[in-house]
Symmetry: C3
């Protein structure tokens, strides 16, 4: 019997419920402070308590999880650097070597160019700001510390303010991108190496604080000196205009192709292309995630688009576990893990 | 056979469909002007037409419903004061004595403090307004007449304007709270006295008019003298970042504890903690509802989070009816009604 | 065996998946450039490739589809004018003669008045603009080229700018309507001539670019000279306050009555009333669609409200196909097609 494991955060509930629905055993690596949460769910067969998620690199936790298949998600990436993730002895679902292409801004850009994804113009220096930009931090920080600016001066004012508040550090490299206004869309896909097919799972919108609150304040009451932030609080569902689906699939296929060439064995499993549709319904991609995203949590009981592909409710977590089972059935487990 | 009854508004359809799905009989107390709506649904076994919902206190309506279990919701609270609700002879699901803690602003604050919920600062006098505030009316008015203000002068201007429009009365006590900007979230729970467990059912966002429309008007076109209002029109789904769930459960458990001490027999059944996540993802609670909320209507065919707890689609209405059945099965119906 | 056909866009996936779920055969008329998208879905039994959707009027495509029932949607209306649609020899689900009442602004207004739908005031001339208005193009252009204005001068400035950009043509008639601010709601219905009943299917919100992005830009950063546009990118779910349902049903029934009198054989099948709830929760209808709308895509695995009417997940596409089967079962297919 296969046991699926993951870290207790991000989308762990969806993942382990999906595993149980597929008949697999489940194990959760859980911070002690979160035991009371995860103990509530009967589909979690075993909980391994840790002081910190970095404990998975050491005994006794390393041994506890060694016979499982570990599903990576955003928390793994934010807690362990790429080298440490690659050093994990437990088999990891998908491709653990592609995760550094998500975390490192340079590699990320290289991958997006290779996949020919339409990206907003990068601004090399704060001195070149002459229109609205968004300024981002490295890695998966959940939007905390991101800010907008329209001028070089505003950039420096807001950056200093965030340093003073201890949100970012003075020597932290920041990434400046032209701000594209429109409908934000996080496009969720699954690539199955067993079927050699890309599937469009769904689309979500993120709800970020406090930028979301600002839209509810009449313009005359907005306090102009404040710096809105982009801390992700939750997600909500979205379906796309059907005429946009073809290009979404094509971007995903180009991404899978690029990943195969740049980061062997490629983009196996779930991923997400994140961007915005402008006034001409043209998509600009500003990020990708090379693993399951938390936005899939909105579809724990199935997504509209997976309803087209499966005749039962399939979450992304369950899809992953079905891929594991499909791989075992054709004696190809090694093709879906690293 | 148990018959479940409710008033024809708010979430009556969800409640009675859930009752029927659980195999119970259903009865609706329906205003005559709404008969054409509720007659459409075959899961309503019996309709008792009334001129006004207050008729449930009198014959013949009181007798018609006396052998049922009445499910309270927001319309019951807005139509009958607490004393009248407590005088109802029909058994009420949950705890009818806790409903006054929701309706009365002083009791509500006392309960929230006892539960150690993080509340936005209350402003005692309009003279103390020195930052953005939101001004609220007593009771469950659905957001009608709420307004925002940044200064004492703006408070008086907007209040006078609403009095002139007949929306609020000159002697109506208003409640002033610091405005917390961020992602609004209405956290829906169910406490089962039979299982002695809190369940997180889901989360929704409210769509209020005309404040929602204002965000779609470019700043330069907004007419600054207008007073946005907060009349609830509908709800949409939201999932929370998983790292926020632990604190959500803990708040709910503290609330259940506080209710047990302040309002015997406690917070049995569905409730909602209503607030906002700020830029640091910290939650501020500005309200609670001590009964089912209309936001659960978005999940009439099951919620993402209940998918983790049940292997079939369960609405909040159906959950209530299952609790009734569970209670009967262990001969403890008296523990889930008052 | 009945074969259901449609054009490959808009809501084709939902329609043909629904047909297959009902046990019908499926055929898709597909632009060659979109073959790679639609070939992914196994529920599409046959694909007829075309260079352009207007090919359905000619051989060989006309013969390929002649023994099917064609389901009309927004793409059919935007690609073929009413006369051409009416000339199609293939039986069309619902009433093909009502589609011109949707496309033609004058007929549309006449129908809405006949149905006594509350419509925002039309402004006859740009010179009469004295408050916020929205300016619309004829037909189902998906919101592209719509704009807002507060003054006559702003109207002319924005119109000229859109003409210069090639979005609208200089001689294109534009329709000016008072702008009602509030919660936008697209109310989706199905009228069954077999059961002679109106069903409320659900409600959605549209996500339009780039107006949606503007709400995420702090007022002080908004560039005042830009013209927001309303290009539909996607949809998200909404449930209505239950006290609004009665009026929604009544509007729908008045619409069905009006359609029966003005456009025989009437409003058979799916339709949508599109509008906004203002601060008093009063609805203003600014449009209708006399066929399935793309907003129903959000409910491909069932809607909250259809959960009240059916004990299985029914999309609008599936509902249409069930109507076809119901009609055949009572030997009345001619009553659901034209």
């Amino acid at each position: 019997m296969v046991t699926v494991s993951t870290l207790g955060s991000h989308c762990a509930l969806q993942l382990l419920k999906g595993a149980k629905d597929e008949g697999l055993d489940t194990l959760l690596v859980c911070e002690k402070r979160r035991l009371s949460l995860y103990s509530r769910f009967s589909f979690i067969d075993k909980i391994v308590p840790v002081d910190s998620f970095t404990d998975i690199l050491q005994e006794p936790c390393a041994s506890e999880i060694q016979d499982t298949i570990l599903i990576p998600h955003g928390t793994l990436i934010s807690q362990l650097d790429s080298e440490k993730i690659e050093s994990i002895q437990t088999p990891i679902f998908g491709n653990k070597y592609i995760l550094k292409w998500e975390s490192d801004r340079e590699l990320k850009e290289q991958m997006m160019r290779k996949a020919d994804l339409p990206v907003p113009k990068a601004i090399n220096s704060p001195d070149d700001i002459d229109d609205m930009v968004i300024v981002k931090r490295q890695g998966a920080a959940g939007g905390k510390g991101y800010f907008m600016a329209s001028t070089t001066q505003e950039y420096h004012t807001r950056r200093k303010s965030l340093i003073a508040d201890g949100v970012i550090s003075p020597d932290e490299p920041l990434y400046i991108q032209r701000y594209v206004s429109g409908v934000l869309a996080y496009l969720q896909f699954f690539y199955s190496p067993i079927r050699d097919e890309v599937e469009f799972f769904g689309c979500d919108q993120r709800h970020e604080s406090d930028i979301e609150g600002i839209s509810r304040i009449p313009a005359s009451n907005q306090i102009t000196s404040s710096t809105p932030s982009f801390n992700v609080i939750g997600n909500s569902p979205l379906v796309l205009r059907e005429s946009l689906l073809d290009e979404a699939y094509k971007m995903a296929e180009r991404f899978v192709d690029a990943a195969r060439r740049l980061a062997s064995p490629g983009m196996n499993g779930p991923f997400c292309i994140e961007g915005v549709y402008d006034a001409d319904a043209k998509f600009s991609a500003f990020e990708f995630s090379a693993r399951i995203v938390a936005g899939t949590n909105i579809y724990m009981n199935g997504s509209p688009y997976y309803n087209l592909l499966f005749n039962e409710p399939i979450s992304m977590g369950r899809r992953i576990c079905r891929e594991i089972k499909d791989a075992i059935a054709v004696n190809s487990l090694k093709n879906v893990i690293t």
